[in-house]
Homo-oligomer: 217 residues x 2
DNA sequence: AGTCGTTTCAAACGATTGTTTGAATTATCT
DNA sequence: AGATAATTCAAACAATCGTTTGAAACGACT
């Protein structure tokens, strides 16, 4: 009675407003009154169109999850014939873009980054439909680079290091702006961040050379 | 009338219970009723001893901040004469221990890690009294390693990479346990994590050799 | 126009939150 | 012991939360 498509105007408006508010303040601190005011809808509209707050959150999650991965697929620009190093670079760039983008498919990046460090009850959905395939691809690329017969645990450690760096480049804003006013590591610096994280992974010798080239640019 | 020492039994009990609850569920989701039940105190005791919930949170933050850094100082085991690589290793180990430890001075690590990725209004206190000096030390060590005349931005990128990895090794629990049931990267694996993050920073050549040694252990 | 199903709305509900109150209890000191 | 201050307690307060209600407004079709 509620969960059907019911492709009304307000339903779409609520989805958009909810995504924005959820991403801004998180699930528990987001109030349906805020969402409805943002959407220009009545408070009861959420119950009518989605059932309750939880179902709304799940609907938002699933919807933007699909959009975000259509816009920035994990294998963005990766050809099977490419060198593993290039694959990793593409993966990192795609991952960073997905979690940094605040406007395009909108806010899903912030939701994803938030669930990554502080999971809600809806985390299982994300794990199975988004995180697992994405992380699986990453471990395969990493294994290609450090050697196919490396211990699984080492592959996972390396993959976690990459994910950790990407996520922190998203979360570091509040820290960085306080520590170094004027500094910024955001959406505009994805290319720089991608190169940096790749350098970290490849080797110091590599890094030295390419960093020079990058600085000269 | 409230903020004084008033070193009563219940005040200490509330501090301990509050630290535990705040670390578990975060500031906003922590209720003073939970805290008081945990401490075996009356609900009004918080207002009496601390004023309000915010002041209690600040008191907890400042108190355990001091204890945690007394237990795990950022320059733990660092001698001025040591090689920069050893300094970095010691820094990482100290940082990881501080944010991983769940029992010793207790829960401050979780609070710190939580504020790092999702700051509250009390974040400024942590930045000035804890994060800034700690991050300053890290950038100095990094600068020593990659070259004193490196660009500041590159030094900061490298430092952020290290912090990001450390924090993610703390936050990854929910993801890892779902992706690979049975796997674990916790307090018991600080040595392994320290070595891993150091490897990431130093060089692949270095890493290859030492990882073999570590695996053989 | 008139009917039926869908959608919107103002209002209220019960639950939970942080905070306050004023009396009761305990501790401290002359 | 008695007076005074400090502390604890049960109870209630006002505000906010997610959710529900029942009637009003709307839209599509005969």
């Amino acid at each position: 009675m509620e969960d059907k498509k019911s492709s009304s105007k307000t339903r779409a408006a609520i989805m958009e407003a909810a995504g924005k508010v959820f991403a801004e303040v998180g699930y528990s601190k987001a109030t349906i009154r805020d969402i409805c005011r943002e959407a220009g809808a009545n408070i009861a509209a959420i119950n009518y169109h989605f059932g309750d707050k939880k179902s709304l959150y799940i609907a938002v999650l699933k919807h933007y999850q699909e959009i975000a991965f259509r816009a920035y697929p994990p294998d963005l620009g990766i050809k099977e014939t490419q060198k593993p190093e290039e694959k990793l670079r593409a993966y990192i760039r795609s991952f960073l873009t997905r979690i940094m983008d605040d406007v395009h498919p909108a806010w899903f990046g912030r939701l994803l980054a938030r669930e990554f460090t502080e999971p809600t009850w809806a985390f299982d959905i994300l794990v199975e439909e988004t995180i697992r395939p994405s992380f699986q691809l990453l471990t395969e690329i990493v294994a290609e680079i450090i050697g196919k017969n490396s211990k699984e645990r080492i592959v996972r450690l390396c993959s976690m290091s990459i994910v950790g760096q990407c996520l922190y480049f998203r979360h570091s804003h509040p820290v960085i702006t306080r520590l170094y006013p004027g500094e910024s590591f955001g959406f505009k610096h994805i290319k720089e961040s991608t190169e940096h994280i790749s350098f970290f992974f490849f080797a110091r010798t590599h890094r030295r050379r390419k960093e020079q080239a990058f600085r000269g640019k």
